[in-house]
Symmetry: C2
Subunit: 459 residues, 2 copies
């Protein structure tokens, strides 16, 4: 394919690309509220049509929830499977929006032009960067440089209930050599980024029980154990004074960050002061001896996500409750094993529990961290493509959270994923006034053209 | 007055006394639900009529809530003011009642005959012991041996909102030399008791705030402080390893129990094993070096009554909340000063709070402990009267909770209170199947006759 001609085509079709994205943004495809179910259906129909128009063999697939859009450029097993989602978050509180959330506009800001609408960034704008790239390549070149499939879902904002069944049922059709996901961001507006690791996750809900009923603190206080005090003590014991997690063998599998990656992170000139200031904080916290980026991208955590017990309504009730509850989650890195940690965590709490107390645990999800190889061919080619487009060195960034689709692709379809996206930290996804920089959209499409151009040599 | 004749009268009128109590018990005078407001009104009317019939000058007094019943045996300042309450707790869950809650019955149990109904013990049965005592004395003697006023309220089970305004407005009319309250219990079914101390109370609600908004624990976990962990640590720091409360100057004003009282408590042969067993516990807890009765009656406490923060609904949300909350209360003894302790408590928490955290406190009630003189004439005469009736030495017991009316009488009317009652631990007050032993009722009335007989010599 002639790269320059394709990029030239993108340059000349910017206006029509924007108007296509605007069409998509006008659909109120909110998945968290069933009243928008038919709107989600129409959004999927629009996408099927769009993909067909540019040359994909495309179809709408019903599920028990919102439909999937599946498209193939060729028959047979694809080289690449692109994933995105067409559903969006609710808009409330709507009165905080400066423009109507489903009437996209282009707005000139001090940081350049932006597209403002719900879903402009997450994920309609991002997925359309890929669709526009494919459109331009086929328009100029007649066909794509490798076999590509597309999977767009409509339930990402509501935990994707139909996704796993769909992957299980259509594994043969969807399985490709590699997956591409465009739902992440750039380090900043001029630094292209690949997300190269994701922390794993372990969640536990615990209930401790002491006296067999709620007791009056006047009649019993001082002579019976208080589950809320016991819970406070158990939680206080989970970290040591240096912020290290105080569970036997917890750090087994945690590996040091490779020196060159660490050097690259240092070069990002992350401003700790700004990070803290935006949260109304002044002092770094967490594990001693690590920078904030290291803590977020390469260190495991133990966080209390919820705690409750006793009387928690207005006024006062002098009760000593029978029970206390907490939700506790761990972020995992490297080769940490969630099930081993679950075992050690439970053992520790059971040992620290005073006599006469009972503890129960509710299982929640556990998943290992994901670490992509930094020097695979696909990584190297993609870095190169992004660097050429943006004129700045591509950086590897870490992901503090998890992106479930990455796990599902690996576990169900045996595919690795490449995480490339053009969102920015100030895109206000999930909040009022969501936006996507016009540069993210157009240079995003150009980036995919360059990436597909380079990757096609691998297949 | 001829004591024997009065007791004889009581003996012969047991059946009619029971039927009068049953009439009172049939009123559904639940004060916590406004749908029973007119029923409460009718209950008060019944009591006014009853007190008038036996010779009191009696009237119903409207308040903004349920009415008060006020009765006087004579004109001018009374010697004794008797207080009780005619309102009762709700009956739910009603399906747990073996008999209808407002259809009183006499039931023969392995521990003797009991009256079963809501309010049988708390406080209709108890207040009628006093009314029947007065009836019998007047019937035999023509008049009471001293000037007596009666105050019965209908909002005790709902924090007595009308009581303080009523006492303030009618102070001159109600102020007497001493108050009598029949709303407490006996040590056991054969040991008459006077409650000689009540613990004081201090309640604080605290909110701590760290990051200025809720944060995603994937994106921020490990690099920001978690208010739930901070709260757990603050709470863990409130007690030392021996169960002592770790607040500077907290124990100022705590006095050792007089040796003879301690000796009396030891003689009660309190069974720690039974106490624990009934709560499904096996090990004593609380402050080291004290018996359970000492802990409950003579030692101060610090209890966590409620704690909450973060995500506490079903499922999991990986949030680091901005805030954490707790309700904490102290029971106070001796001369402990609630306001000093409040000051020290707040100072300690402020000092222990990490940088970047804010703490706010909501004032709740504070009150000093009450300690009645054990060798006053009124105490000595009452002990003697109770011992004569029950044939066992009267004991002084402590009250772990507070009885607000005692404070109000002292602070508003300048009156000390005598706490004598005939309830038993197994009366199931506030629970289904409430009962009052028939012996508590009849011997309770006899006890009051003996007490009034003895006390009249003091006025």
């Amino acid at each position: 394919m002639n790269l320059d001609l394709v990029l030239e085509n993108l340059e000349q079709s910017q206006m029509s690309a924007e108007s296509r994205l605007f069409e998509l943004l006008r659909f109120k495809s909110i998945s968290t509220n069933s009243q928008y179910k038919s709107e989600c259906f129409r959004t999927a129909e629009w996408l099927v049509k769009r993909l067909s128009e540019i040359g994909f063999s495309s179809s709408l697939r019903k599920t028990s929830g919102n439909p999937m859009v599946v498209a193939h450029s060729d028959t047979g097993t694809s080289d690449l499977l692109f994933y995105g989602h067409y559903d969006v978050q609710p808009v409330d509180p709507e009165y905080l929006w400066k423009t109507a959330p489903f009437e996209p506009v282009i707005e000139n800001t001090s940081n350049g032009a932006v597209i403002r609408a719900r879903g402009a960034s997450d994920d309609k704008g991002q997925l359309m960067t890929f669709v526009e790239a494919c459109r331009a390549i086929i328009a100029v070149n007649g066909k794509l440089p490798c076999k590509i499939s597309v999977l767009l879902e409509g339930e990402e904002e509501t935990s994707s209930p139909s996704l796993i069944p769909f992957l299980l049922e259509h594994g043969e059709e969807l399985k490709s050599s590699h997956a591409l996901v465009c739902d992440t961001g750039m380090w900043d507006e001029s630094t292209p980024s690949i997300t190269s690791s994701l922390r794993g996750m372990l969640a536990e809900e615990i209930t401790i029980r002491g006296p067999d009923k709620d007791l009056h603190s006047g009649l019993f206080g001082g002579a019976v154990p208080n589950p809320l005090r016991v819970m406070a003590k158990l939680i206080s014991g989970l970290h040591d004074a240096d912020g290290k997690i105080n569970i036997p063998n917890f750090y087994e599998g945690v590996e040091p960050v490779p020196l060159d990656l660490l050097k690259q992170w240092k070069a990002l000139n992350f401003s700790e002061a700004t990070f803290l200031e935006e949260l109304d904080l002044s002092e770094p916290s967490g594990e001693k001896g690590f920078s904030t980026l290291e803590k977020l991208w390469s260190r495991p955590t133990c966080e209390i996500n919820g705690i409750w017990g006793g009387y928690i309504d207005e006024g006062f009730k002098t009760v000593i409750p029978s029970e206390a509850h907490a939700k506790i989650s761990f972020r995992l890195v490297g080769k940490q094993d969630p099930e081993n940690i679950r075992k050690e965590f439970r053992k520790k709490l059971r040992e620290e529990l005073p006599l006469d107390f009972h503890i129960t645990f509710s299982n929640h999800k556990g998943s290992k961290a994901t670490q992509f190889s930094l020097d695979s061919k696909i990584m190297t080619e993609t870095r190169g493509a992004l660097t050429e487009e943006w004129g700045n060195e591509t950086v590897f960034v870490g992901g503090g959270g998890s992106i479930p689709i990455v796990k599902h692709f690996k576990e169900i379809l045996g595919m690795d994923t490449l995480l490339v996206g053009f969102a920015l930290d100030d895109d206000q996804i999930h909040s009022p006034n969501e936006k996507y920089n016009l540069d993210s959209f157009h240079k995003g499409a150009r980036s995919w053209v360059r990436i597909l151009h380079k990757l096609s040599s691998l297949f």
